[in-house]
Amino acid sequence: MDLIQVNNGSGHVFCPIRMDMCSTTMSNYCTLKLYNHPMAQPSIITHPSMTGDAGESSVRTYIDNTLTTLLHELSLSPSEGQPSVTLRRRTNPAGYKVNPQNGALEAIEPVVSYRTYSWPGNSAFEAWRFTIIVRILSVIDEAIRVGQLISKRRVDPWDIYYIDPAYFRSQHVVDKIVDDLAYTIGVDRAALNIEAAGKGLVTGPFILRRDSQIVLDARSSAQGGHQDTLIPRIQENDEIDIFGARWVLIIEKEAVFHRLARNNYHMTALAGKGILITGKGYPDICTRAFIRRLFDFASNSNRRPPPIYALVDGDPDGISIMSTYKYGSLAHLHENARLAVPGLKYLGIRISDAVRVSDVSEGVLLSLTPRDRRKIHSMLRNSPIWADDGPEPEWRVELQRMLMLNVKAEIETIYERDGGLEAWIDRRMFRQA
């Protein structure tokens, strides 16, 4: 029998919540009775989000109080308890907008709701939600305690999911509850010590400074053709110095990134030295945070910040990925303000680039799939970014050209051009600089 390990602030106890209590048959067996903890009440929630030590201490207070109260409730007789946890949640907003102040994709009117999960609840679903909330709380609790003793320890949501995949059902479930818990406590997700491991790669001359110490110096490795520095997780006071870099190129695809890095493009580009970054498809928050910090630091220094370009496939996902870097994602609307990169420029590729290549080599253009066409329709219809009165008419019309010609093209098609991809990027940067 699985048991949830819970910390009550002074030691370990075992809370008799069975992992299979989500089934209705087990509800009868349960004797757990709890009531809401005051911290979960709407009136006590702190605003705005706290980060750093203040955030961490409020997380600990919340978890300690919540779990202690739950334990207290256990000791009460079944008729007295109201075992429940209330989460503050963001629900799907009525619509989205691009905030003109910060250039981020945001909800028009953020909708906040409160949802209480009681034990045993009115349904098997509610009982299941209740138990996974408690279980995730215990993981966060452990991560924070261990993190205090040793070093910053981060738990990947995937790791939580893989503790018991059948029980959590999907990583999305874990993700959503972690989000809700952070919002309920009033902290950034990072304060819960739960963040996915970064998957992005970076190469080029930069250093990462933390508390005035250099923790990562990519200058020499960039020289030596070392290609794949994993994008580090950015902490509160980190500084990324890209002195010497004249441009930043964000590349959708890992394979294209490796080609450019292998050819030392970041050191040999016509426009000067630069930074190559890939988020390997849709970027994770870690990659976006790195780019934003890099941009912020470059903007705050006395130098003119280098242009940041996006090199993506000429297909709906390419345009959508570029939009995620520049404006943010629908999945993390509340994070977009701190992650958006408003100055991002569209380097390519466009359908017209690939059409020219198709003159000299076969097979560079692909037909749109029905899924591609549906995706474009949905982008044009549902997002303010590609709206007629939106901020990106050139992106809108590029999507329409794809529909018009029923074609798409991958970045790799440019390999076939005179001078290859590198010469093409040289020309394009020169034209757009």
């Binding site: 059409v355 007629d388 809108r396 019309v397 329409q400 050209r401 029923n406």
Partner: protein
């Protein structure tokens, strides 16, 4: 022998994004683009002034607009898959809500309207060719299946006897509107076809696309009459002059060409832009010299007229 066409005027930046389609009447040009509104430009006044903007016609933008010969009806197709019918009175266009509602479930990509405005032909993304009778509440009267390749373009012969459709796989089909049969599946093009156009007499069908060659077919035999070579990029649009003496074509690299049917040679090339010219149309013959209009990725309409030497 080459002919000269002079820049006659333009409607600059008529749309904020690419103009994908043009339709002409005896007094006007309708332009459709990636923005929601259709624009109507007068061809009877100097400077081709904008005389009407039909706001919000297609929320996701519009890729095809066609008119009948009298200029009393227009049909437009939007990127959302929406088909709209418009009627014109005294030069002013308004939505024909009844017909638009009748055609609400019609799923076609390219459209063509018969000269009398009664029949609408369309080809769908899965290659089906349909005909709808606007005289009978938009009832579908023909439904032809092809091999399922994306239907990129369609035309109705001016006499109403034939429909031609062009497809992404290079196929060109001709259907008889009387029998509903398909007499010809035309060979010759292996790459996507972007435009098909019947000559005014209906005897010739011109077809062209990514192969850059314009192929002329005899509509009575299905045989190829000629290949017109000269474009260096995809051919996007074709239009016959009212007499059938000249064929106009445009391409992805910004060129518009005039071809003599007499010599089967290119007699004029216009290259005002390097950007795709999505649509070209001859203006109806008037007392003035022959004239045509082009539009595309440079967002402007450009008008040209034949140099008369006088």
């Amino acid at each position: 022998m080459s002919r000269q066409y002079l820049a006659w005027g333009s409607a600059d930046n008529a749309h904020p994004v690419d103009i994908f389609s043009l339709a002409v009447t005896d007094k006007q040009v309708l332009s459709a683009s990636g923005s929601p509104s259709l624009k109507v430009h007068s061809t009877t006044e100097a400077d081709f002034p904008l005389v009407q903007s039909i706001e919000g016609a297609h929320t996701l933008g519009c890729h095809h607009v066609v008119t009948d010969a009298k200029g009393s009806r227009a049909v437009s197709a939007g990127f959302a898959g929406d088909i709209k019918v418009w009627s014109c009175q005294d030069g002013h266009w308004s939505a024909d809500e009844t017909f638009s509602a009748n055609l609400a479930n019609v799923r076609v990509w390219a459209v063509a309207l018969a000269e009398d405005g009664q029949y609408l032909a369309g080809v769908s993304q899965d290659g089906r060719v349909g005909v709808w009778d606007l005289g009978a509440n938009g009832a579908q009267i023909r439904d032809h299946e092809t091999k399922g390749s994306f239907g990129t373009c369609i035309d109705l012969s001016p006499d109403g006897r034939f429909i031609a459709s062009g497809h992404e796989n290079g196929a060109v089909y001709i259907f008889s509107t009387e029998t509903g049969r398909m007499p010809f599946s035309l060979s010759g093009l292996v790459k996507p076809v972007r435009s098909v156009a019947f000559s005014p007499g209906g005897k010739i069908l011109a077809a062209a696309g990514d192969s850059k060659v314009i192929v002329l077919y005899d509509t009575s035999s299905g045989e190829q009459i000629a290949n017109l070579s000269g474009h260096a990029a995809w051919v996007l649009s074709l239009s016959w002059s009212s007499t059938g003496e000249y064929l106009l074509s445009s391409s992805f690299d910004g060129k518009a060409k005039v071809w003599s049917m007499d010599t089967k040679m290119c007699v004029a090339t216009q290259s005002e832009t390097e950007k795709a010219v999505w649509s070209v149309k001859w203006l109806p013959k008037s007392s003035r010299s022959e004239a045509f209009v082009t539009a595309g990725a440079n967002r402007s309409l450009a008008f040209y007229r034949e140099a008369t030497g006088g």
